[in-house]
Amino acid sequence: MAEIAQDSGGGKKKGGKVRSKKMSTRIDFTPMVDLGFLLITFFMLTTTLAKPNILALVMPEKDIKKEDVEPVKESKVLTLLLGANDKVYWYEGITDAKLDSTDYSAEGLRDVILKKMDKVKDQFGQETYKRKNKEGVEEEHTDGSYINVIIKPMKTARYKNLVDALDEMAICKVRYYVILDVSPLEEEFVKNPAGGLKFNADAQVEAATK
């Protein structure tokens, strides 16, 4: 039987016959239990931490009908072009668009999005929207504002840039954003920002809807 063994295993008796000392058969299990629990803790922690997180993404359908296309206000649109070396190029609207660049830090891209939100809020007022809560009751929300962000990762971007951009959407509570392909016009725009963006929105709709 296991026990916390502390006795010295039977002392000598006075005046008795000298007998061969019997070894105690009791084994101290404490270190073994210690080790067992240490390993349990290790396995418990590693198994729960191993589970990765997921970021849900919904892409627009491939075949969109022309009558389903709903125009958005140009002044609410912010386009992000994800470029090489962790750089983001961005412009607002399409008419007389000015290209600017920033990075993925909290002072960079986030500022751009939040400033755009403020601008839209000043121009159109605080928009509210209704969303059902967990009990199914509709609640009015005022957080975020109706800006439309178009994320266009360029060929030189890496995957991390896309995830970072999607993260900013979640942080800034942007409700409408979409990932689209970069058009050749925009590639030209990045190379030569002074040339301006000669974007034809109607032609884009035509191309996307077939």
Binding site: N53, Y159, V163
Partner: protein, 212 residues
């Protein structure tokens, strides 16, 4: 009569039961921890603020390594068996039952269909060194894209298994790419998915922790 003296010294504690429990738990955790499949490629996912955990239900994982090679992995032995039956008869891969069984337990794979049989016949210990050159993908012609075939047929197989009651859920499609994967490689996967009408999927990210 001698006076009854209370025994001094340390009380005996029977540790056997505690040891039993400890080792039972240890065995349990060790076995469950080992269930995690060995990774064919090392993929370092980017971090995000998302706190949604990967669901336990069947997942179909499309992995993209930093070089843009595409690997596939799907859960469920029954589904995999049904999937390989379909693929085998449709593309005349000439696999026997034994090879199909190996496929159903294979884990992640990333070889063109033509070389799948070769991979299966490699002994498990040497499979780690088998040159995996990724599953071919063709975004211009969906009918030629092996990736689209795999995913489409896997979803059909899973649906069939659901009807037979062998699984409870349809596949959750997850894309797992390395943070240094060039975007065009990921774009090919996303385009393939939307081509076969998978518009909702998940990106695997790791927990946000410290700046790079």
């Amino acid at each position: 009569m001698p006076k009854h003296k209370p025994k001094r010294g340390t009380p005996l504690i029977d540790m056997t039961a505690m040891t039993d429990v400890a080792f039972l738990l240890l065995t349990f955790f060790m076995l469950t921890a080992k269930m995690k499949p060995t990774e064919t490629v090392v993929i370092d996912t980017p971090s995000s603020i998302s706190e949604t955990k990967l669901p336990d239900a069947g997942t179909l994982t499309v992995s993209v390594d930093p070089e843009g090679k595409i690997f596939l992995d799907m859960a469920g032995q029954h589904t995999r068996m049904s999937l390989i039956n379909d693929i085998n008869s449709r593309f005349q891969l000439g696999m026997n039952d034994q090879e199909k069984l190996i496929f159903s337990n294979l884990g992640m794979f990333g070889v063109p269909r033509a070389r799948l049989k070769q991979l299966i016949n490699t002994p498990p210990a040497e499979r780690g060194h088998f040159p995996m050159d990724g599953i071919p993908v063709d975004t211009s012609d969906i009918n030629k894209s092996e990736l689209a075939d795999w995913i489409h047929n896997a979803r059909i197989a899973q649906f069939r298994m659901k009807q037979e009651g062998k699984v409870t859920d349809e596949y959750v499609i997850v894309v797992k790419a390395d943070k240094n994967t060039p975007y065009p490689a990921v774009q090919r996967v996303i385009n393939t998915l939307t081509d076969i009408n998978v518009n909702k999927f998940n990106l695997i990210t790791s927990m946000e922790g410290g700046k790079e």
